[in-house]
Symmetry: C2
Subunit: 130 residues, 2 copies
């Protein structure tokens, strides 16, 4: 399982949004919010390459980079990690925590309801086909 660092993940975010991109485009995209030197981004790209998190394909004198590690998988990995590390792997306390500490909007609410329904359905299925 590929582990990427905080800074590396910023680079991935860019690639997850549009890919393939060449180094210059990535640097530009990152310059807006982070404040990294061009060389820094190049280093991160290299490390991501070595880790197998991205792929580089030659295009003339430059490379085009694309993600290999999938965003969804990475999110799953990171979420699971937090769950284990901080909440003993139990989701309920984590959810409770979010209720207490984050302000939720309409969309969050809709998402929560869908969650509840999904679980109910899932539990019903379990009963029907044992």
């Amino acid at each position: 399982m590929i582990r990427i660092s905080e800074a590396e993940s910023r680079v991935m975010q860019v690639l997850w949004q549009h890919a393939p991109l060449d180094a210059e485009a990535i640097i530009r995209a990152l310059a807006e919010h982070n404040d990294w030197h061009e060389k820094t981004v190049k280093t991160l790209l290299n490390r991501l390459l070595r880790k197998g998190a991205i792929h580089a394909e030659r295009d003339g004198r430059r490379y085009l980079y694309s993600p290999l590690l999938e965003r969804d998988d990475w999110q799953a990995e990171e979420s699971r990690n937090l769950l284990e590390r901080a909440f003993d792997g139990r989701l309920a306390p984590m959810l409770a925590h979010f209720t207490r500490h984050e302000k939720l909007d309409e969309q969050d609410l809709r998402e929560l309801r869908r969650l509840v329904e999904a679980i109910e359905r899932q539990h019903d299925d379990d009963k029907e086909s044992p």
Copy 2:
């Protein structure tokens, strides 16, 4: 804001459950699940001390350690961090993610329902007293 590492957080977990404890008790508690040398745990305790995450009080020839950093605050910190890093700070996608990737049990379900109700009430309040 105090930043503690993965390994350090294991030590904190022990102290959050029972404190104060002396080094030996902490080492014993950790030996069960991790597989750390006594010296390793001592190092971690020292680092936590320097970071101000715990407090040590002399008791005869040894120290009794207690947490200073609160568990709830740490959880909040870590959760927020994940939310920002991995989900652009938006809760809904994160919740959706959990639906798709984690198996939820009865207790999670109850917790979720309570959550939904709490939020609905909260939203109603907003409407009534603008």
